[in-house]
Every structure is written in C-alpha cells, then in structure tokens.
Symmetry: C2
Subunit: 563 residues, 2 copies
C-alpha cells in the first residue's frame, strides 16, 4: 500500500491556505497540516488600511474562510496559535510549540511548505518603541489601531514612508480627521514604483487633499512625552509634531526558520526557489512574501511581496507537493493603489529602473481620458510608457488619475509578459464602445508617441526638463498653442512663454525666429506634436514638444504660475 503523503505548511495567510486547498484537490488522501502562529488564517491583509479608516465596516470582512471549513471541506488540519521553531531536514520533521500552553511537538513531513510571509522593516531609531508608533502588517495591527483610534485625539499623525502601505494609511488617517504628514527618504511618492512625472501627479493630489508631504528627508528618531507617548518626529531639520506615527518602510522576507535550517537565502534576502518554487531541499517548497521572484523583464531576482503573487505561488506549490509539475514564470512588478480619488497603477520597469538595468530607453507621457469624451462620465488618466530605444520592446508602464488606470496597466502587464513591442501594443484589439473606451485606447496613443519618437518624427522634453530650463533662465521659446479660452483659464507664466494658437500657427510663422529653440505645449501634447511637425515642415530646426503638456505639468498650473 502506498503511504499517505504528509504535507506540512508553515504559514496560514494567502500562499499557505491556497497551497493546502490545491494540494487537497490534487490528492484526496494526503495528510495536510497548516501551522499558523496567529489565531486566524486567510486574513485580508490588503484590506487593513480600509478597515482602519472604516471603509471596510465590519471586522468579519477581514477574515477569510473559517477554520471549520478547512477541517470539514478541505480536510486540512489547521494548528493556529502554533509556532514552527525548527526544521529537522534529516528527520523530515518540524518542531512546533503551542504558544498558549508552551507544549512542544514534532510534525513529520514528506513535503514541507514555507509560507512564512514578511515582517515590517523597522529601523532601529531612537524612540521607536514609544507608545503611538505602529506598523500595519498583521491583523492584530489593524484591529488594535482601529480600536485605539475610536477614542484618539485627532491631531497630527505622521506616516513614515511613501510606499503602498504608507499612502493607503495616510489616506485612512486623513479620512479619520488627522492632520497627516508623510515623510519619505527618497525624492518622490511611491519611489520604488513610479517615475517622477507620474509621482509628481500623485504628490500634487496628496497636497490637494490636505496631506503634507516631505520628500528627501530621513527620520532621525522620535520624541515622547511624559507618558512615553510619541509627540514628535525628528529629522535633521528639526522635525514636526505627531501624536501618532505609522511606520511604513516596507517589509522584509521572514526567513529565519529557513536560514536556520540551512535553506538557501538569495541575495535579495528572500528564500531562493527554482521555477517549481522548490528550495535547495527537494522536499521543501516556499512561496509568498518570504521568497524571491524572477522579474520577467530583467530575469533578475527581485522581492515583490504581494497577495496576488502569493496566491499564484500557492497553486503551483499545491500541485508540486502532490506529485505534479507546475512552474511559476515570474513577476512583472505590477502594482496598484488608490490614493484618495486617484487610481495609480504600474508594471514592469520604471524609467529609473530600466536605466539602472542598462537599457537605453524612450518614453511617452500622455494625458488622456478613460473613455470617449462624448459619452458622460469620462475621467482623466495620464499614461507613461517605457520602451527600449533600440528595439521598441515595451519595458514598463505607469498610469495615474481619477480614471480607470488599472485596466491599462493590466494590458501592459500582459503585453510585457510576452515581450511585446510598442508596435504590438499600438495595434492590440482592445474593447471599444463609448462607455468603455475611445476608439483609440490611451495605451494606443502612448505607444504611438513612442513609435513617433523612434521614427524621429516626435521630439520632446519632459516637464522636469522644461522646468529646469525655465528655472535656469534658458533662452528658448515655450510655445503655448492652445486656444485663447484655455489660455485664460490657466497657463504657465514665464518670460519664455509665447502664446500662439495652433489654428493660427501656419498663418503666423513669421512671428517665430527660425533659429530659435522652441518647445511647444498644449493640453495633452496632441496639438503640440502637430505644431512641432508644422514648424519643422516650415524649416524650423530646433523644435520639440513638452511630454504631457499642461495636463502632465505637475507644478501648479491651476494657479497660473509654476510653484
């Protein structure tokens, strides 16, 4: 008689339960055990900020399947409140301890799954243990913070780190009535995800919503009051008041158990796994936040801890620990976040990352609308695409605005998984009807801009480059080709700006010196690019347009002047 396959899974969130359920469906007879140190499994980690803010009203919404569903339906034993403290690889057993009774036991396994997740990265700053300083990674954090905030003085709050959790929590605290300051050591919002053009729009939106943002400054420590409660965030410039601090400096893979058992840890700090999500021990698999992934573009190992990836890992592992042979191809680095009324999404490499990885790149920055503007309810989105200059291969995309950005990034993520070029993307047959899209999707336009640049037709400067020229007092013409009505509503005011509507451009060419450096802009760049071509057709030699034009200009055009 064949012996029963004993599968032990360490970790009860996302990857672990998914692996258990999949393993059960593949093998009706396996003995499957989940070991989870907390009291719950399958909690909705990504919902924590929304539970804190009250957008998710009920605590029960954060809990996934109940424990008895695992027992009765999946036929999986779940040991909650139980910590795995050691792995004896030779004996094929896991040493566990019941955290309430301190009782110890050994769990024998044929296949072991490490789904130990991640831990918040908390630097060792002076005052970090003061009351009122929180992280947000486990369900206990969310439950405790919401309870605490029910009767908390609504004054200054600080969020340390402008990443995904940082910005979600900044919104949550703002919604709850705090004055919120976000402080980030790097130079812009979501700095590991976005380039500056897109991040600048996020920053503007945060400011519009009343959130203070401080970029390029590190927190030096925290000062407490006489009750040991945090009252001040300190920086080298002095700092600011905060009676509540949320530490959101990202997470690191929880690999202690694996490392102590001699499992190979990659250079990224995550557990090293092959495409079957198998570690260097053939009977030990690992998935979720604790492992490193292959990046689909660079083929490098990266840490991208996300619930979506953890769930995919779970299926692959569930198949493989029951005798199957399934592979996980890697991640594109896709991410999405709601920041108040803005939808922000990205995938692939940012321009920054692409340049760091050695690519010569060409980009586009295209403000647009999420569906036909003759159909009610359309909203703005700005798309940035990044492609390899030599080949036109799509490397990444970012989108921001009140409109539907996640859809576009899903398309880009799918396209880059197959090595798509901007030519491919420009002709992709996307769903069109006025309530859903324009005849050309914003991605088509953004891809075409890159095609135009690669063909030498379109030439541009980024808003940041134009800003630097203005600030540096460069001698050039910043040509605004919009209508008089648009000009009256808002404009960039600088000595270099000249106003000449595109409708009059052909007739008034003699007002522009042929040898001048001219940078054209309009609202979205469509008319600006057209103007560039008109001027070049008329013999002008030094003409470019400004990527993104007014709609992509993050420096406060609303007030008719660069800030």
């Amino acid at each position: 008689m064949a012996s029963v396959n004993r599968i032990v899974i360490i970790g009860g969130n996302a990857c672990g339960p998914k692996a258990a359920a999949r393993a059960r469906r593949c093998d009706p007879h396996a003995r499957i055990t989940i070991v989870e140190q907390g009291d719950y499994v399958s909690t909705a980690t990504c919902g924590f900020p929304y539970y804190v803010s009250g957008v998710i009203a009920q605590k029960k919404s954060l809990f996934g399947r109940e424990l008895d569903y695992f027992t009765n339906v999946f036929g999986v034993d779940v040991l909650t409140g139980t910590r795995a403290v050691a792995i004896d690889r030779r004996a094929h057993q896991v040493e566990i301890v019941n955290l309430k009774t301190n009782e110890k036991a050994s769990l024998p396994y044929d296949k072991l799954v490490l789904a130990t997740g991640s831990l918040p990265a908390v630097p060792n700053l002076p005052g970090k243990d003061l009351n009122g300083i929180f992280t947000m990674t486990r369900i206990g954090d969310a439950l405790a913070l919401r309870d605490l905030l029910a009767n908390y003085e609504r004054k200054q709050a600080a969020v340390v780190g402008a990443g995904l959790i940082g910005l979600e929590m900044a919104e949550a605290l703002k919604v709850l009535g705090f004055e919120v300051t976000v402080i980030e050591a790097l130079n812009w919002a979501l700095p590991t995800l976005l380039d500056v053009e897109i991040a600048a729009q996020v920053e503007k939106h945060l400011r519009d919503k009343g959130v203070k943002v401080i970029f390029g400054q590190r927190v030096a420590g925290f000062e407490g009051d006489e009750n040991n409660k945090v009252k001040r965030v300190m920086t080298k410039d002095g700092g600011f008041e905060a009676g509540l601090v949320l530490m959101a400096l990202g997470v690191k893979p929880n690999v202690t158990l694996a490392r102590e058992a001699g499992i190979t840890i990659g250079k990224t700090g995550g557990i090293a796994v092959n495409e079957y999500l198998q570690t260097n021990d053939k009977d030990i698999y690992a998935g979720g936040d604790c492992v490193e992934n292959v990046h689909l573009i660079t083929k490098q190992k990266v840490l991208v801890p996300l619930g979506s990836t953890a769930n995919k890992h779970g299926r692959v592992i569930g198949t493989n620990v029951t005798g199957g042979r399934e592979t996980f191809p890697g991640v594109a680095g896709t991410a999405a976040i709601k920041v108040f009324d803005f939808n922000v999404a990205r995938t692939g490499l940012s321009e920054t990352q692409a340049r760091e990885a050695g690519y010569e790149v060409v980009t586009s920055l295209v403000p647009n609308y999420d569906h036909a503007t003759y159909y009610p309810g359309y909203k703005e989105i700005t798309v940035k695409l990044i492609a390899e200059k030599k080949t036109g291969r799509l490397l990444g995309g970012q989108a921001v605005g009140p409109g539907d950005t996640a859809k576009r990034i899903d398309v880009v993520a799918t396209a880059i998984s197959f090595g798509a070029s901007v030519d491919d993307l420009a002709n992709t047959d996307l769903a069109y009807a006025p309530p859903y899209n324009s005849a050309l999707d914003p991605l088509h336009s953004a891809a075409n801009v890159i095609r135009n640049k690669r063909a030498g037709l379109a030439k541009s400067l980024t808003p940041m480059e134009v800003r630097a020229k203005l600030d540096g007092g460069d001698d050039f013409i910043l040509l605004d080709v919009r209508t008089k009505k648009e000009w009256d509503e808002k404009r960039i005011e600088a000595p270099q700006v000249k106003f000449l509507p595109v409708q009059e451009l052909r007739a008034r060419l003699d007002e522009l010196p042929k040898d001048a450096e001219i940078v054209v802009f309009c609202r979205s760049s469509v008319r600006a690019y057209q103007s560039q071509r008109i001027l070049e057709g008329a013999g002008f030699k030094k003409v470019k347009f400004m990527d993104g034009s007014i709609a992509g200009w993050p420096y406060g055009v609303d007030v008719a002047k660069p800030s």
Copy 2:
C-alpha cells in the same frame, strides 16, 4: 525638384481623417484632400444610440474636429457634400461630383485611399419603405430619429436584429418610454459574438428590464396603416404591433466604387488588402469598414467593422501613402457593449466559432466579482474562456455582468494576440489592490478551471446540458452543496435535486449512492468542484459539476424554479 505627393482620401469618418492627419505629420508637403459625400467629417458614429436616448445631450458632441481645423492645422482640403463617382486608375484620378451643384471634376492622385465605410444591410422585405422604419448608420439617421421622437407616440417599437446596434437601440427606445420588442432570426442575443451561456444572461437582463425578446424568428415583412406608417411587424407566427421599427441587421462593406474600378473584393465582400492595407493596385490603399481583416487566431479573412479598427487602419495608411512601411497585424474580434446595467465584452473566437473552425475546445464558465468582496462596491461578472483542448492555447473570452468586464476582455485580447495559453494567463501579473481586483483576477480563476479540466481534475456540464437532462427526466442527482441560507433564498427545483451542504458532505457520504451520476453545483462552482473532488476521493466514479452553478444558471432561479 521632387513633385508634391497628391493624396486623395475618399470617406470622411474614422479611417479617412485619421489617415489624413497621419499623412500630414509624416509629410509636411503632401497635398491631401478628403472627399466626403455628407456634410460632416469625423462624426461619433458609436455615440448615435446614446444621442437618440439623450444620454449624450448635445448634438455637437457627435461632431469631431471642425472643418477649419483640417484646413488650418492639418493643411488638408476637405470636400464635403461631394461624392466620388468613379476612379480612373490609369489616369490616376477620381471623378467627383458636388451633390448640391452637380458640378463635376477630376481629382488627380498619386496615392488614393478608400475609406468608404459600410452600408446598413436591409433585406428586401415587404413594407420595408413604410414610414417609421429606420436604420442607424449615418449621422443623419441619429439626428432625424431624435427629432422625430421628440413628439412621437410612445407605444410599441420593434428592433430587428439583436446585434450591437440592435441592443443599443433597444435600450435607447426603452429608456425613451417605448415598449420594445427585439426580434432576431438566430437563437440568442448577440449571436455572432457570444455563446449561449453568456447570451442567456444578456437575454435574462433584457427581460428583467422589460424588453421583449423573440429569438429564432425571421421578420416576414411590415404592415402599414392608412398613412403609410408602419403598424405591424409580420412573422410566420403572425407578428406583433409596432409603430416604430429600427432595422439593425448589421452592415456590409461599401465597395461599389472599388469594384467598379476593378479593385479586388475578397470573399467576405470587403475590399481585399495586404498587411500594408494596400489593394491590388499599389497606389490604392483601403481601410475601415470597407475592408476585410485577418483574424489573429484563424488567420482567415473576416469582416469586423469597428471604429477602433478604422482608426488603427488610418494610421497605417497615413504612414504608407507617405513613403513609410507600416503593417496592420489583424483583429482579434474584440467587441464591447453596454446593455442597460450589464457590461458585455468578448474577444477571439466564441466556442461556436472555434468548433466551426475545427478546433477541439475546452471551456470554463466562472461567475465571480470584479474586485475584492471585502471592499465596498464589488459587482458580479461571469467569465467564459475558450481554449484549444490539445494545447491549452487561449482562443477567446466573453464576460458579462454589472461588473467591470471590459478590463478582463482587454487582457484576454492582448494575451491571444501573442498566442497565450491558459497557463500563461493564469500567471499573468495583473494589478491587484482591493478597490481594483481580488488577489486572483476572475481571469486567473477561469484559466485555472480550464487547466483543471485539461489535467483531468475538473469535470463539468454546461447549464444547458444540465437543463436538457432535467427536461429529459434523466436519472441523476443534481447535488446542491450550498448553505441552508442560500437554499432558502433561491434554488433549482426538480425531482433530481438533492441538498447537501459541502460542510457536511464528508460526514454524509453514505447518503449518496456510489454508482449514481452526480452533478454538483453551488453558487459559483468553487464548492461544487471541491465537492466533485471529495466525492471522487471517496470512490464515486460519475461525478461532475455544473459550469457556472446558480450564478451562471440563466433559467430563472430567482423564482426558485426553472422557467
């Protein structure tokens, strides 16, 4: 001195103007002329039904760029009210006539672009010329119908044809207060786009909204009253009253001019073009509704007249008539339509089309939600995927429901452009955050169901197959494994139905005969598939689940009984 390139474009909607604008940007010196028989160019054809209903309030929303923009900015001559009546290919000139003055002229060209669009297909039925019978393809149709309806008696209206325009117009007329009957010769809604499982949900929604639908019946003709106004739609069963009739039997390519000039017309009836959108005459290009396209999956020629494709064609042609070399790869057959509160989208081959094309297929039908159910505002969507059985290659997808279906179909459309398999799709790194998605996208789940079927783990029947077994009085158990609460809310009532919640299944296996044929269902099929595997693990041999379960059952479960 190089001579100026003379480009003549026949047709002023979508493809034509796009080709003109692109040609101008590629060649500042070309002489470009658009010949348009109507009074306007670049009208928003896809908005016509919404203008008729008033969702698009202003007439001006239907008009694109004004004529003087073409002149002043693009430097393009637009001859409106002018018909091209013949092409003299040897002399390289187009004979035109001014429709107001009857003045004739010849327009010489170096490159000619045929963007002559499509014409409504109107069969020669008795009474087809009665007053009150309309088509909806040109801006004049939309303007006239809205004006007419301002003072029209709101009684019965008929829509002939349940395609895209038919259903959009059915909604428009219903919104305007008509009693609407849709009559369609084929057997379900959007019959050339959807399979029956998805179409059945559209049909149910139409009925829920008070639209009468008649499928599988042809219109035999129309009866008029004493004022020559339509009063009755006749069928072989007698017909029904209708004081207003909208003929929506699709369109056919407008190729008369091309045919008369000896341009090759394909078997589909559209102008034959190569990948450069060049006809058999090297100086004549064609694009938009009047040409046939290559289908990306079958590589066959197809007619898919859509504004999105026409715009892409325009760019390709604009490049190629100015000396460039750009290709159009083909279409995936993507389409989207809003039907009242349902969003319907599809791409690739339907199951019907795939079988007709000779593929052996495997499909999934997966009810799901458009984002995390713990985050407010999630809505239902049902996804059907079609894959090649032998290889797992994705052939097509359809999605329906109040939730965001267009996003999913855009991803499928992108994936199939690259020959993706369901394995690829299942691991695509799509954007995840609770406001936008679940950790696993509905597409991931739908792809995994097909993987499970291909692996022999999942076995299913479609709702239609189950319905036929019930109607045929087959001896089998239709096992409902939902909770008691769900059972009380709604259920399928039939002698074959047995209720046994999945939570109790393992404990009550002896209530089921081991040799019985069992078809399991739940709400969405997740628990049903799990139950199938539990039963198989316990030695049951003839177990399947019902694709789509209750959520995919279109036969009126709300009333607790098949209709």
